[in-house]
């Protein structure tokens, strides 16, 4: 059981937030499937994805919640902030309004996550240079002011997508290493892999009936 691809040391939980249509679901899809989804429908509630990555020789499973940008789902999506180790906050470089809303997203993120949550700013759709509406320097300044790490990405070409997810994980891992993230605290969004003692034969192990041999 400890062999195979699911042999990892930690689970990190992420959420992806930002206005509707900025490309949150496409970023997730690009990261987990390495494909661009051109005709992605609006997210209803939440979507979910996982991938196993490696940071400093440690395997880490990312559990990623992709939230709906539409206002009507705000109550539900807000509830997913808690227990996130990383928050990817996304705007669309071709739509200034999505950038202007960042301060309100950031307020939510700061209020609803724990102090150690790594917040990463992504300016998506960097492939659409001709339609650019937000200069890189401006967003970079905003990120610096607020202590956020920042990258421009393209879910379409895949540019920087991998880096954004991995860099966030590196920061979280660093926080574990230097002790600023307490693994015993609740809601850190980091779970050390549970060690399961092999279930002794005969006893009704929980979940046994979940398996079925037909």
């Amino acid at each position: 059981m400890s062999a195979g691809p699911y042999n990892y040391s930690y689970i990190f939980k992420y959420i992806i937030i930002g206005d509707m249509g900025v490309g949150k679901s496409c970023l997730l899809h690009q990261f987990t499937e390495k494909k661009f989804m051109a005709d992605c429908p609006h997210t209803i509630g939440v979507e979910f994805g996982t991938r196993i990555i490696e940071v400093s020789g440690q395997k880490i499973k990312l559990q990623i919640w992709d939230t709906a940008g539409q206002e009507r789902f705000r109550a539900v999506t807000r509830s997913y902030y808690r227990g996130a180790a990383g928050a990817l906050m996304v705007y669309d470089v071709t739509r200034r309004s999505t950038y202007n809303h960042l301060s309100s997203w950031l307020t939510d993120a700061r209020n609803l996550t724990n102090p150690n949550t790594v917040i990463f700013l992504i300016g998506n759709k960097s492939d659409l240079e001709a339609q650019r509406d937000v200069p890189y320097e401006e967003a970079k300044a905003f990120a610096d002011e607020n202590g956020l790490t920042f990258l421009e990405c393209s879910a379409k070409t895949g540019e920087n997508v991998e880096d954004a997810f991995l860099e966030t994980a590196r920061k979280i891992y660093q926080n574990i290493q230097d002790g600023s993230l307490d693994l015993n605290a609740a809601d850190t969004g980091v779970q050390p892999k549970q060690v399961v003692r092999p279930t002794t034969g005969g006893s009704a192990a929980p979940g046994e009936r979940k398996e079925c041999n037909c």
Partner: protein, 378 residues
């Protein structure tokens, strides 16, 4: 039935799942990579999970930090073979009535096989992701119309036109189907369809739109006629129509792709009602057990004889023709051939005579010739 109690129950069920799947889910999924198996959930578990996702609450339980909803979503988003087994009536002493539950498979993005038993399929939602991945669908005791599974309000018109691009096998046996409705047209990749043990009286006209369908099991239905099936079934190689009330096989006389035909336990009473299929060039297995035609004198040789020189390649009722049967058929075919040859020679001779008569009459001048006027009258 107070909503609070129901919500408590939803939490209890999902927390329990999340704890167990957090501990064991990865191990199970890894093991099932090597030896594929179904993982079984009850409708109430999947219903509770579906409802839990709608609640505006953190993914981690207040009371139990290892009960993280992410574990359940994680498992469901990776599981390949899923079984949903309901039961009739009430679930435990629950506040939740099983039959009224709706559940969503929206997060099951990697399903290869889905098996549903004893749960009304019209209550299964969120199936649009399954269109890409699903290869095998088994539904028993759970539907009275095929469209109840495939046609959902949530789907847009464009979705309907999208086909189930991977679904190769559908087993809808043991249901209450009365027809094979139009919704099956979207199963463009379907190779095997089992609709045995239903209430079908005909096959409708939709199966001809399934270009890859080659295996069709219609056993134990109420079908009385196969009339027109050669046109309605494209490339079927295995056809099972056992346990119906079919009186004649004429309708499949031109189903040229047919290799295996099980027509046992029908109302095929005479040799004539069967031998239409003698022309099928690929037929190798024919089962007529449980039909009255088997009581007819020389039943086996007369049926096999219909296949003429291919008679030796056909297995009838589980047995190929034995040496004696083959001899008899060979003799009969030889006699038949001799007879045909004689007829041909006779015919040729007659034509030759006629030609010379015509020649003579033409030489004599048509008006005066008794033969000529005879011919003109024809």
């Amino acid at each position: 039935m107070a909503p609070i109690e129901k919500e408590e129950e939803i939490h209890a069920i999902v927390d329990d799942l999340s704890v167990r799947l957090g501990q064991l889910g990865d191990g199970w999924l890894t093991a099932s990579e090597k030896a594929p198996k179904y993982f079984e959930f009850t409708p109430i578990e999947l219903y509770a999970f579906t409802e839990r996702l709608k609640l505006a609450e953190p993914t981690i339980s207040e009371t139990n930090t290892s009960a993280d909803l992410s574990n359940t979503v994680d498992f469901l988003s990776r599981v390949k073979n899923l079984k949903i087994r309901g039961s009739r009536g009430y679930v435990r002493s629950s506040n939740i009535v099983c039959n009224s539950l709706s559940l969503s498979l929206h997060h099951c993005k990697n399903l290869l096989s889905l098996w549903v038993a004893d749960f009304d399929v019209s209550r299964i939602e969120g199936i649009s992701h399954l269109r890409k991945s699903l290869r095998r669908l088994v539904i028993h005791y759970s539907m009275s119309r095929i469209r109840d599974f495939f046609v959902k309000e949530e789907l847009s018109v464009a979705d309907f036109e999208d086909s189930w691009e991977s679904l190769e096998e559908a087993d809808f046996s043991f249901n209450h189907l009365e027809e094979i409705d139009d919704s099956i047209r979207s199963l463009k990749a379907l190779v095997r369809l089992n609709v045995s043990q239903n209430r079908l009286t005909s096959i409708g006209s939709t199966l001809q739109h399934l270009p890859r369908l080659s295996y069709l099991d219609l056993s134990k239905n109420n079908i009385a006629s196969v009339s027109g099936w050669s046109q309605l079934l494209g490339q079927i190689s295995v056809l099972k129509i056992a346990n119906n009330s079919i009186k004649s096989l004429e309708g499949i006389a031109k189903l040229y792709s047919l290799e295996v035909l099980d027509a046992s336990d029908n109302q095929l009473d005479t040799i004539e009602s069967v031998i239409f299929i003698g022309n099928l060039p690929c037929l190798e297995v024919l089962n007529l057990k449980g039909n009255k035609v088997r009581k007819v004198v020389e039943y086996r040789t007369r049926i096999l004889e219909a296949f003429e020189e291919r008679a030796g390649l056909v297995t009838l009722d589980g047995q190929p023709g034995d040496a004696h049967e083959k001899d008899t058929i060979a003799v009969r075919l030889a006699l038949k051939k001799a007879k045909e040859e004689k007829e041909m020679v006779d015919r040729e001779r007659k034509e030759k005579i006629e030609r010379s008569v015509r020649y003579i009459s033409n030489c004599e001048g048509s008006d005066t010739s008794p033969y000529g006027s005879f011919r003109n009258n024809l």
